[in-house]
Symmetry: C2
Subunit: 410 residues, 2 copies
């Protein structure tokens, strides 16, 4: 008998029929003798409907009242799911954030969980009951309703699992696991049985939008085994686990992430003097433009080239800003392009294997793909290439590094 925390996202509870299907699934776990705690999101579309009402009143609605408003979405789902379980003869009970005692700080719309009182959940579980918790919400010390920000229901699930020391936190979503890369780009992409928290963090931040990144950090911090599964398809999903638990047969590369949503800017011929990087980047960040990769080439003639990438939607704004900055710091030239993409190979196995980068560059060179910028971390290598080569690059790398389904691992 295990204690499972399951989390179902908005698509999984998007209609009455789907809520009934979730009830069937929860019942089958309960009937098998497991203790069940279930966190749910708002029915898909509901949060947007509520935000639409608020925007009808103000473009910048009061944040405290925004949380009062949107937290109703999950409250609707917990009531409906509990009804569906009761209909099946199961002693289910719904809990809002304040009822279950999810204490957060007071940062409306992006609150962080500080503490969870498990006593009421324990009592319900000990009585043979099922606990249904509203995801995404909590209360602060002054009994104000708070929300964790979009996607925060994943974090609720993980936090409940950590507080209850659950055997596993299962995140049900509309994909059946984490893949070695996007199957729409590489048909041979393979579902991973396991992936480490570190790898998952690198993947998530690079656009594999399976799990909310904060929930993965949280699970890693509290050592909660995390599993991603499909609500709609049977299967084991992907287990996200501590590196220590991974077997030595780990492949060098676990997956390949990519992001089309980037633009690249370069300031050329910048005087190579201390403080010049901050003179470029501080105004950019003050303009609320988020910077992703940052690459500074080796200086040769007393000047250096400074390259960074931003979200493509901010390209024009960033370019205009940089031209002004370029003049101020006597840069030779400011250039940019928004037809690039970023491809990243991720794997904890990389740490102990030399030559991953050189092999990656050779694979791309063999396809005549020019690399415009490179950054590396301990478990990740990212390159910027022209967007038109994205599919070709990802497929070639996927095959070369033995990730294709049915392929032998290198």
């Amino acid at each position: 008998m295990a204690l499972y925390v399951q989390k179902y996202g908005g698509t999984s509870v998007g209609t009455i029929e789907r809520i009934e299907a979730v009830a069937d699934k929860v019942k089958s776990f309960h009937d098998a003798g497991h203790q069940m705690v279930v966190a749910v999101s708002a029915m898909s579309g509901e949060t947007n409907r509520l935000i639409g009402l608020a925007k009808g009143i103000s473009e910048t609605p009061d944040p405290r009242e925004m949380d009062v408003l949107v937290s109703t979405g999950e409250q609707v789902t917990i009531a409906l799911l509990s009804m569906a379980l009761k209909k099946r003869g199961i002693n289910a009970r719904s809990y809002t954030g304040w009822q279950v005692g999810i204490k957060t700080d007071s940062s409306y719309m992006k609150a962080r969980i500080e503490d969870i009182d498990t006593s009421s959940m324990r009592a319900q579980l000990d009585a043979g009951g099922v606990v249904i918790v509203a995801g995404f919400q909590g209360i602060d010390d002054d009994n104000n309703i708070t929300t964790l920000g979009r996607g925060g229901s994943d974090t609720t699930g993980v936090a409940l699992a950590a507080a209850l020391k659950a055997d596993e936190c299962q995140i049900y979503t509309d994909v059946d696991g984490v893949y070695t890369t996007d199957p729409r780009v590489v048909p041979a992409a393979r579902r991973m049985e396991k992936v480490t928290f570190e790898e998952m963090l690198e993947m998530a931040s690079l656009g594999s939008k399976v799990l909310q990144i904060r929930s993965v950090e949280f699970a890693g911090k509290y050592k909660v085994p995390l599993r991603v599964l499909s609500s709609f398809k049977e299967g084991n999903g992907t287990l996200i686990t501590m590196e220590e638990n991974s077997s030595v047969e780990n492949p060098v590369i676990s997956g390949i992430a990519f992001n089309r949503d980037e633009a690249k800017l370069t300031v050329k011929g910048v005087p190579d003097i201390p403080g010049v990087a901050s003179r470029i980047l501080v105004p950019v960040s003050e303009a609320n433009i988020e910077v992703d990769m940052i690459v500074q080439n080796v200086s040769e003639d007393g000047t250096t080239d400074f390259t960074f990438t931003v979200n493509r939607s901010e390209y024009q704004k960033a370019l205009g800003l940089l031209k002004t900055i370029g003049e101020e710091i006597n840069a030779r030239e400011v250039t940019g392009t928004d037809d690039i993409c970023k491809v990243s190979m991720v794997g904890v196995g990389m740490r102990s294997h030399a030559g991953v980068a050189s092999k990656m560059f050779k694979v791309l060179a063999d396809e005549n793909i020019n690399i415009q910028a490179i950054t590396t971390s301990e478990i990740k290598i990212s390159v910027v290439i022209a967007e038109k080569y994205l599919e070709l690059a990802v497929r070639a790398l996927h095959t070369a590094f033995g990730l294709d389904a049915e392929a032998t691992e290198e």
Copy 2:
């Protein structure tokens, strides 16, 4: 400077535009220096939408979860109204039932308010703020969410006014007051400036659906001056007040209520022995058929006739049941009709004026309207007549008793 509790119903907050209009109204009271507590219903249609979701799962959804579900409707409104007031520069703050401390018993879907903690509201008012409270909801001693049953937002308004010792409880709705009778039937019907609690109770139970009856009882019990006004039209509405405060110029009759939704059943030739009334009525009530008027004629030949009225929708069910009962108690005949209606004259002035009944009967006789049954209470006389005479009877009585607009009171 006064302390007002205002309550706005579902139609008054049915759209964003209407919520903005409510915010304007609340602001004008606040700007005039009054302390404002505002209770609101769910946006019109929202409660039915939520009930529809529940019915999609079960015809008899779990009552605890039903309250978790439907209480979200008012929570949405308090957030939106608070946003609209904040936008107008007013320090407004929303409170759900549990946040404001509305304690109820544990009767889900029809809970009764037991206690209200006014400390948080007082603090907000003392800080110059406006208090926005979700109507219709509370919590029980175990922190379960409860609702007061349909229309319960009126009760919330009155209970808040009683707890805060407010100067007046103002119920904003889609009519501009309580009328002497339905203006659709009698164009000359007049808005009453004042009506007593007792009269209002008799009117409400007879189908003048302006105020939820429980809220009127509550206001009477706690001596809360209650005013009904329109959200959409300027005016003083109708003040519902203690009889003691009414002037001696009170008319004999305050208003005429009527109800088409009735059917009449008669058991003829019932042996006039003790216990026979209960032998007829107990099975009817056990079948969950609600009985309205009950009339037993004087016995003459050792048998009596027993007449009562039920809701028209239950007529066939009641008739079938009565035929069985009739045989068991050896009644001569069971008859019934569903083309009747009930007309009631209400007024506290009746107590000290003889002859109201005889005048009423004469007015009806002059119009050749046959009276099929009569019941009276201290401040009310009701008659059953054929439904086709309803308009004629109400208009004739309205004129004869001096209720027409511009008419001199008799």
